[in-house]
């Protein structure tokens, strides 16, 4: 009972989100509509900055959605549309940053950190084995 009540309460909490911000009618071509939705979800609303174009109710986001819609209909590719936006607003408009020389170190950081980790692990293991070889019985005899 309690679980059901909290579930209903949870739904109510999220109810306002169910109203779509984007009230424009869907594009006639379902493939284009799909691309339009994907693009407006991965482009940032520059006014509110942490919302996507699709989720933002401000006027500028509506204008930019119109812009994306027109570019999709004009037959531009996703990459061309991203370039179009970046040329005007800078790379900040992309939620997924592109790799370039300035941020290459950040992209390579996970691999670098893993390599460091492996190197440390190998060294620790090798040291331990060496120690065990040199002075046998010591570690085992201390703890019961």
């Amino acid at each position: 009972m309690r679980a059901a009540a909290s579930l209903v309460f949870g739904w109510l909490l999220f109810a306002p989100c169910a109203f779509a911000v984007d009230s424009s009618p869907p594009l006639p071509d379902p493939v284009m509509q799909q691309r339009y939705l994907a693009l407006t979800h991965e482009l940032r609303c520059m006014q509110c900055q942490n919302e996507s174009l699709a989720d933002s109710p401000v006027g500028l986001a509506a204008d930019l959605r119109r812009n994306v819609r027109e570019l999709v209909q004009a037959g531009e590719t996703d990459e061309q549309i991203r370039d179009h936006m970046v040329a005007r607003y800078g790379e900040f408009i992309l939620f997924r940053p592109r790799m370039n020389w300035r941020n290459a170190w950040l992209w390579s950081a996970p691999v670098l950190l893993m390599l460091i980790g492996v190197a440390v692990a190998v060294r620790v293991l090798r040291d331990r084995r060496q120690r065990l070889d040199e002075e046998p019985d010591v570690d085992e005899s201390v703890d019961p």
């Binding site: 500028l60 204008d63 930019l64 812009n67 970046v86 005007r88 800078g90 900040f92």
Partner: protein, 172 residues
């Protein structure tokens, strides 16, 4: 001793990265315009005050220009208006306005009430030209050199101090 050297070096490196991050923290909110150093975007807008000839990019050539994006709905634009009038009086640049997503009648009333600092004003009723200029919040002001190249952009209201520090220093 040796076994502390590597972690210490790593810590020092981390510290350097964090200090660099803190020093640049103040420019975090500002988005650098990709237009800087590039030719001003092509546009053509109906003139708010004289219905005959549209305001076009070519009007920005041959002299230093300040392109100011404003609207009567924008509180900060009202606040910076006096500064624009002062800049006009100084005569170092010609000021052009883009009236962004506004009502023409209200915009004309605004200029009648507060004075008109603009050489010409284009009415961007649908907000298309503002997107080409990468505008995301009025007021925004662009400094454009006589070749028509965008030299500087300021987001937010102008004050005499900002004009002095960021714009006059870039003029010849």
């Amino acid at each position: 001793m040796n076994r502390f050297l590597l972690p210490l070096a790593a810590f020092a490196l981390l510290l350097l990265v964090l200090i660099a991050g803190l020093r640049h923290a103040s420019d975090k909110g500002i988005i650098v315009s990709p237009l800087l150093g590039k030719p001003a975007p092509q546009f053509s807008l109906p003139d708010l005050l004289d219905g005959n000839t549209p305001l076009q990019t070519k009007a920005l050539r041959g002299h230093w220009s300040l392109l100011n994006v404003w609207g009567t709905w924008c509180v900060e634009c009202r606040a910076e208006h006096q500064t624009l009038l002062t800049i006009k009086q100084q005569g170092r640049v010609l000021i052009f306005g883009i009236d962004w997503k506004d009502d023409d009648t209200q915009a004309r009333a605004f200029l009648n009430e507060l004075g008109n600092p603009y050489q010409r004003v284009g009415a961007d009723r649908e907000g298309r030209v503002a997107i080409d200029w990468g505008v995301y919040g009025a007021p925004e002001s662009f400094l454009i050199n006589p070749d028509g190249t965008v030299v500087y952009k300021h987001v937010g209201g102008l004050t005499p101090q900002i004009w002095q520090r960021e714009f006059l220093s870039r003029l010849p």
